[in-house]
Amino acid sequence: MRIECQHLAKLFRTGDRNIPALEDLTFCVEEREFVCIVGPSGCGKTTLLKIVAGLLEPSAGRILFSGDSNDGQPRSALVFQEHGLFPWMNVIDNVAFGLEMRGTPAKERRDRARVFIEKIGLASFAKNYPHELSMGMRQRVGIARAFVANSQILLMDEPFGSLDAQTKRVLRQELLRIWEEHQKLVLFVTHDIEEAVLLGDRVLVMSGHPGRIREEIAIPKGPLRDLPFEDQPELMEIKWHIWKILEEEVLKSLQMPS
């Protein structure tokens, strides 16, 4: 599976004004690639993900998905920032939701969900409801749900945004481990530059108002992907470079009358 976005644009209509959220976005994501998108807040990162997920229609341009296996499973699974889990379903039903929508029989989907629940270390919480879990656990459930759905594209919208530093670190490693095992295409939106550089094969840096792609940066990856950030000096340099770009963008957006 490969995604090709050609001249994507999105306008939002508020009253009689058209507000451009995205403008002329062109990029590709290759099969099994982990691509991170960073940008200042309000640059349309989430809008972009929703367009790729098929929840929003682009105002112009198009997305091509090639290598579609078309066996009835949804093309993409979206992991939300928070509140993505259904509060009225327990962990196992939440994780099995994608399978349920595809009509997988109850027993089979529970079994398959259970495998992933064990992988994320929540085996003893399978029957609990989301409100009984910590934020970190809920995010893990959200990730498991996306993986169980077994779609070829994983879209993540700041999945670790609201977590504390330690939990974030552990979950990133967990995500990389599961990703390496299942080899999916991942499009990962974040405002955390360090996270983007650490996780991505490639980072797309966006500018704001309207959202455009400022720069594409390939990240050199050693064989040990989940080394701590501090042990990878070349990543520090890239982080600094991206920060320079974003600083300019943030300053620009602060000066701009809204």
Binding site: L55, G84, F86, P87, W88, M101, H131
Partner: protein, 280 residues
Amino acid sequence: MAYLEDTRRRGTEKLTNAQLKETLYLFGIKPEWWITALIIIAPLMIWEFLARTDRISSLFFPAPSVILLTSIQLITDGKLTIHAGVTLWRVFIGFCLGGISGLILGMAMGWSRSLRIIVDPLIAAAHPVPKIAMLPLIMILFGIGESPKIVVIAVTTFFPMLINTVTGVRQINPIHFEVAKNYGAGLNKIFTRVIIPGSLPLVLTGARLALNMGLLLAIAVELVSAQEGLGAMIWLAWQTLRTEELYVALFVTAALGVIFNFLLQRMTLYLIPWQTEQKI
């Protein structure tokens, strides 16, 4: 040192509090309930004393023991059971008709914006009208007998059910719809897996309000025009100055309200295990 002293003292205080609580936990009853019981029992005893010593008129305030005896007698000769049964039956049928149509229209209005825009002004206009005031008109339309009474109760239960259902559907976080769509849910699945469970807490609150108001209106309608039912019993007791029967009917009505609330709260706990605190 002073700090240590302080914490130690606080520690012992807590212990005595705990001990006190434990002694109050007699027969597995919450200590707070003892206070509730006291608040109910003490005035009754004062009342009994005052009535027996003729300090208050026993014609208007018959002693609680007399009321109790009357109620036992009314139960054994079947009168009370019939009256209460008739009232309950009216509330039940009225709630089934009004509550269920409120639920269905509420779901539809929660889902469809245009339907909401069309129907909302009508609801806003009809909702505040006291439903008992509509009884004569409804009697013109539905004749005398059972149907106008049931219609009034149905109309009464319709509104709280409708309004709570609409709010219940509307307050579902849009993210849940997006997640469902993202995983390929069709309209059917969105309805059964998102809209129904998402609105259920408020729907049940609506049902509770509807039942309470249904009971209220059933009594009111029976006061005005009925031969049977708790309201009719109250009115008849008043006209024939059988005050003990009046009190019996009042207590039974109050008890029905308490039972409705208790049952619905139990149902809520059972149906909504994902909500720790009840939003009621």
